[in-house]
């Protein structure tokens, strides 16, 4: 493989993504613990109450099924630590995509350029999917998971493609094609549940949308600028 593969370029992307991802993931965890997690815990009180109520109605066979649920971290420090781990995985994963984009474009990189890549990531991975599927607190009725994941994926791919064409294409015809692509997932429409309902009050759902929007703005701008910064540093 030696000579066949530019190991230095690979290492540079991975190192920048790892540094930026760990730092941005930790910052996201702090912001999340301050506002987002409180709303999740609050909503789970309603979710558990609703589940307990329906368990009274249902047969004992279903209750037994409940007891065999998979392991989950206990509330408190353990849950926070595992959430931090998941946040960092997400952050490094997103960082690798940003770093790949920066490398592919091959232009001078610094934290300012990275900030723009982060802004694009925020639009692609948070804003566009949220327009159809707003972040939801636990206990919210929703369409089948597989349908929502598929729409999320289509939306992200189309938004990323559309945005790249809009920004990087040289001819206006291609730019218009890019702009049109941005709208396609929203014309298709996100999968919706048969009945919109939630165990938690609507105020909590609204507060959650604001809280996640703020947390993800902070996260993406930090991740982007740090990825740009470390990509330059590790040149």
């Amino acid at each position: 493989m030696a000579g066949m593969f530019n190991l230095a370029a690979f290492k540079r992307i991975v190192s920048a993504a790892a540094m930026a991802g760990v730092l941005a993931g930790l910052l996201f965890t702090v912001v999340q613990q301050i506002q987002v997690s409180r709303i999740i815990l609050n909503a789970e009180v309603y979710e558990d109450a609703a589940a307990a109520q329906s368990a009274h109605v249902h047969s004992s066979a279903e209750n037994e099924h409940h007891e065999h649920e998979a392991w989950q971290p206990t509330n408190g420090v353990e849950r926070t630590l595992f959430t931090a781990l998941a946040n960092i995985s997400l952050a490094v994963g997103f960082g690798l995509l940003l770093g790949s984009g920066i490398c592919l474009r091959g232009e001078a990189s610094d934290w300012r350029a990275g900030l723009l890549w982060g802004l694009a990531g925020y639009v692609v991975f948070f804003v566009a999917p949220s327009l159809g599927l707003p972040p939801e607190v636990p206990g919210t009725e929703a369409a089948p998971l597989a349908d929502r994941q598929l729409w999320w994926l289509i939306t992200v791919v189309m938004t990323a493609t559309g945005l790249s064409l809009l920004i990087f294409a040289r001819t206006w015809q291609v730019k218009i094609l890019g702009a049109a692509l941005l709208g396609v997932p929203h014309l298709i429409g996100a999968p919706q549940p048969q009945v919109h309902a939630s165990a938690a009050p609507i105020e909590l759902a609204h507060a959650f949308i604001y809280a996640t929007a703020i947390a993800n703005t902070v996260f993406w701008l930090t991740l982007g600028s740090l990825t740009g910064f470390f990509y330059k540093k590790f040149a």
Partner: protein, 65 residues
């Protein structure tokens, strides 16, 4: 095969083989690594992975449950 104008100009202007080894392959490998991390943290339905990443998925706006 012509690529989309202006999108990957620097790819077109260099020798194909050098660009492939120097840029495309590392980017594909790093990008795939990123996708694996994202899949595990955000999409995998394995109960343990779901429960560990539950709050992260809700916070980042991924479909959950």
């Amino acid at each position: 095969m012509s690529s989309i104008p202006g999108l990957l100009d620097n790819v077109d202007s260099q020798s194909h083989s050098a660009t492939w080894k120097g840029k495309i392959l590392p980017v594909m490998l790093a990008g795939s690594l990123g996708l694996v991390l994202l899949y595990c943290a955000a999409f995998a339905e394995t109960p343990a992975l779901h429960n560990v990443a539950h709050d992260a998925r809700h916070s980042a706006g991924f479909p959950c449950h």
